[in-house]
Symmetry: C2
Subunit: 202 residues, 2 copies
């Protein structure tokens, strides 16, 4: 039980035969590595050591697979948000954990990063919109809990989320300091210091 509850996104079924969920998980791994446009049926099948004969038994086509995979990922991400809200009662710690958690949950973030790169895609866009809204809502309410007025909190949430998105972008460009370096830590401290106030003066 201790080894399995960590990731509901990638628990492999040990059956000899594949199920739809196996394809969805493999699809997400491929997206994380090479991006959404690289999600093609035949290459994915080769990667799994199988042929597309299997694929078209489980899915009606490429669109369907992407749809299911995205839904799976989005649900996983929503649960993560809720968990963070349940575990960390102090709103300020919750905000800080938002930054510190980059680098953790590696696969999930890599997928999200690639989804961002594929904004504009008809199936991806609505997912991105919902996820961003949920996360910004999460941040905004944390600021409100700290005593920040509603409108100010919303702007601050958008600002912080932009910083997060920009960080992902710089990461894709390999323009980010090594995640386990001193420079990285001081930068994160800098961000937290300038964007997350210690207390709100009313």
């Amino acid at each position: 039980m201790s080894s399995k509850s960590a990731s509901t996104l990638l628990d492999k079924s040990e059956r000899s035969t594949l199920c739809a969920a196996d394809w969805e998980r493999a699809a997400l791994e491929l997206i994380a590595e090479k991006g959404v446009p690289a999600l093609a049926v035949e290459p994915l099948a080769r990667r799994m050591g199988i042929t597309k004969g299997s694929f078209y038994w489980h899915f009606s086509g490429r669109e369907s697979l992407l749809e299911q995979a995205l839904q799976r990922w989005e649900e996983h991400d929503s649960r993560n948000l809720a968990k963070s809200l349940g575990e960390i009662s102090n709103p300020r710690d919750r905000l800080i954990s938002f930054f510190r958690r980059v680098g953790k949950e590696k696969l999930t973030h890599e997928v999200y990063s690639e989804l961002c790169a594929a904004a504009g895609h008809a199936q991806v866009e609505p997912v991105l919109e919902r996820v961003a809204n949920r996360r910004m809502e999460h941040l905004s309410s944390a600021f409100e809990e700290m005593g920040m007025p509603s409108l100010h909190a919303r702007n601050q949430a958008r600002l912080i989320y932009s910083v997060y998105l920009g960080f992902l972008q710089l990461q894709r460009q390999h323009q980010t300091p090594n995640l386990s370096s001193e420079e990285y830590d001081t930068y994160i401290d800098h961000v937290i210091e300038t964007l997350i106030p210690h207390e709100i003066q009313v």
Copy 2:
């Protein structure tokens, strides 16, 4: 001379026959609209009302076109940066103009946005790296001019540039307030207020 120096990126040559530069400009327009992966030879030719017979006379292949187009764009962007540095002497105004100039220079920003989405592409990546470094350097030195210590200035520059990149991302997702709305203005004011100090206390 006054009407031509505005955009060196799209001045059409009025010749009856096409030259390489015409293809590069058309390529950049296509990238701005549909992204780098949509840059294909035949579709681009159709769009220009011509056939690829012309293309392969001017270029050795798709790679070559992308290379030239990217170079053209990068040079244009560099000149823009230098111009901003020459025209605005007050460092704080220079920083503010950085944000206000989003929405202006529409084509250039649209291209950049799509290039960001195509990070990971072998030909695009080095361009992104150089451009981001130049711009962050530009921001960093402005902060230093304001009296900020060097290391702090670099972190602040990275932070601001992340905000900018995140804004572009939200724009791709249509998650940004309308550029000519009141909400937009108050948000920009909020960003400037929290990230660009009025004076530095030494």
